[in-house]
Symmetry: C2
Subunit: 75 residues, 2 copies
C-alpha cells in the first residue's frame, strides 16, 4: 500500500513526535489531552502506524510548540 519511502517518513515522524513530546516533558496521556486526541492514537502515531492528515500535524506541532518545518527537520 505505502512505498518504502512513505513508510520510512511515517516512521521517522513518529520518532520525531516522541522526541518532541519527551523534550516537552509530556506523557502520551497529557499530549493526547492537550491536542484533543485519543492516547492510543498518539501511541500509534509514535509507532509509525498512522498516515496522519495535515490538520493532525498542525495540532501536534501547535501543542508541542514547534513549527511544522521543525517537525520535519531532517526527515
Amino acid at each position: 500500500m505505502y512505498s518504502a519511502e512513505e513508510r520510512k517518513v511515517i516512521r521517522e515522524l513518529g520518532i520525531r513526535v516522541r522526541q518532541l513530546r519527551d523534550e516537552a516533558g509530556l506523557s502520551q496521556e497529557r499530549l493526547a489531552e492537550l491536542a484533543e486526541m485519543h492516547r492510543t492514537y498518539i501511541s500509534s502515531i509514535e509507532r509509525g502506524q498512522q498516515n496522519i492528515s495535515l490538520t493532525i500535524l498542525i495540532r501536534l506541532a501547535t501543542t508541542l510548540e514547534v513549527s511544522l518545518e521543525r517537525l520535519f527537520t531532517g526527515i
Copy 2:
C-alpha cells in the same frame, strides 16, 4: 470543522505547492502525472481545499524535489 489556524496552514501550503510547481516549470497536468494524482486534486490542493495526508505530502515533496521541511518553511 477546521480551526482558523488549520485553514490558514492548508491555504498557505496550497500556495507553497503552486510556487514550487511554477519554479519547477510544471503544469498542474504534468505534476499530477508525475505524482500519480488527478489534476483536479492538485488544483484543489493549491486552492487550499484539501486536508491532505502525510503520504500525499511526501509524494508532492518528492515530485517537486524538495524536502518536507522546505515544503513547510515559514508556514
